[in-house]
Symmetry: C2
Subunit: 372 residues, 2 copies
Amino acid sequence: MMPTSLFTQLQRSSECGARRGVLSTKHGMVQTPVFMPVGTQGTVKAVTVENLRELGAQIILGNTYHLFIRPGHEMIERFGGLHGFINWNRPILTDSGGFQIFSLKELASITEDGATFRSHLDGSKKFLSPEDAVAVQESLGSDIMMCLDTCIPYPADRNQTEEATALTGRWARRCRDAHRKKDQLLFGITQGGMFADLRRQSAETLIGIGFDGYAIGGLSVGESKSQMHDMTEATVAHLPDEQPVYLMGVGTPEDLVDGVWRGVDMFDCVLPTRNARNGMLFTSHGKVVIKNSRYRQDPAPIDERCQCYTCSNYSRAYLRHLFVSREILSYHLNTIHNLHFYVNLMQEIRDAIEKDCFASFRNDFYGRLEGE
Amino acid sequence: MMPTSLFTQLQRSSECGARRGVLSTKHGMVQTPVFMPVGTQGTVKAVTVENLRELGAQIILGNTYHLFIRPGHEMIERFGGLHGFINWNRPILTDSGGFQIFSLKELASITEDGATFRSHLDGSKKFLSPEDAVAVQESLGSDIMMCLDTCIPYPADRNQTEEATALTGRWARRCRDAHRKKDQLLFGITQGGMFADLRRQSAETLIGIGFDGYAIGGLSVGESKSQMHDMTEATVAHLPDEQPVYLMGVGTPEDLVDGVWRGVDMFDCVLPTRNARNGMLFTSHGKVVIKNSRYRQDPAPIDERCQCYTCSNYSRAYLRHLFVSREILSYHLNTIHNLHFYVNLMQEIRDAIEKDCFASFRNDFYGRLEGE
């Protein structure tokens, strides 16, 4: 049974664009603002679904492109969709593959009909139309699906940006028209590159079609932070309050705080998980690069403020030893910590908005980082 | 407080050499027969100490050579020994480094005084005497320490074997003389190659010195199974009932059953953990090579009889997907399963000996394997 309102705005900050919300999905509610760990190939790298539950992850992201290539969406559908296949019974958002296809560069070509590309695994030729992208995601059974979009490289001239943004709009309409399974939500992705007016146009186009949520695509592609902030603001200004705003592929802890400040409700990024495997750990006082010799005999946990399994059980010295020894346990423990850090940060952000003291929270957050 | 008897024989099989026992150590009791997961570099690869507890591991093994090289025993001592450093509060057995040094081949040379070798990490020159091996293990604080021994290659002629066996005996005496910390047990390692009479001599030499346990070294080095069984029997025949018998570096599930049959109480082997990372999983019906295409859409768990976290939560199809995708989660989940299989096998072995039906257990065990 679907509730009357898919997204409920619980509270707005009196100080900025931040807001508390709750998004209803088939597999449960998601309290926003929220960070979604990325589970590209049907696993959030190096951790189990039990670890994810324990550290408080509410929703994870799966990559349609990768799962389409391997093991294939039809097989996954027979296993009860992605939820059944990977044994995660909380919400899942799937992206459409647009960004991955774009990342294939010379191996991909975009036409009005869709995207033709060669599999990164075996070079075989594939085609994905907007309708296909929806069909694949319906097979995967994700709670939130994304429209197939065309990504705009950075930098890109106005002409290139206009064309890609307009095509994204036409593809979005085709995705909406192809959408059958109404217990799965569908979000549109705004583009517009680094042009505020094109960002507005893109938003208005998508609102005209009508989606369950609106994402901001094509950021964190090499632009400056101030460009990213400007384009976020330029887009959010034209998005309706009644749907969640999702800033795709973002970001660092500071980006999360700054995005929430500007009205963003949802984020995803490989940063915490990828950095974990590279020995780069987030703490309230800044980064800990665990292989650094200064940690060789450090008995402290990664972060004194952190309650994760890793910080509750292991010293920096041991974690450094594991990392320089290239032990698999290093990646597992580091990932648990980084994800817990991100998920906990979002919890603190939600608490601060609820108490309408997000400005003060943001000051303290930056103060702790700079204090180091 | 140390109990009157370090090793208590609880029950003997009326059908074979198998026996139930309990070994008392500083960090707790170990029910035997027992299998010890190998934690070479201060971690049993790909799993946490919590995973180890949950799957029922009673005791793990640490490699002195590796820990001596990195991060160093003096540092580990400052962290409360290996137990404190890795956060494992159950028993730990450390080997002496003899086998690892032997495995360095041209990088190592053995003299009466000890072993000179070059670190596999940075090529720096190191020396380890029998006294050093004990000192390092005393710093590590393991519950059970092993004498420094000289390993005999396979094949080896009688002369070579006699000399190495005699040297092992002289080093064992020096280890015993150097042993200070009496809350840490010290086991001797019998050698003798493939010569039954040298095996007997080696056993008698070590008994004459007096140890808390006796290991059978230099097996599983390329000899046939029947040679391994013969040499096991040839050694056990001359070992006292009052101390546990430890068959080092063994083995497959069949080797464990066959070793227990012949009176072995303790085993260690990298096989379950290494095979896990290579996608080779043990089941009651034989091996499952998970990458095989026959598992591509198989919804069954690895082993229907298994109660481990992996078998309780994930299908063969998903595990195959993870393995072919080279996901870290694959190694973690496979290792949990294989270790649980081994630990559970030992539990079943202990139960069968207690009920004095080990012969029947062994028949059923082989019947299930051959039935596939």
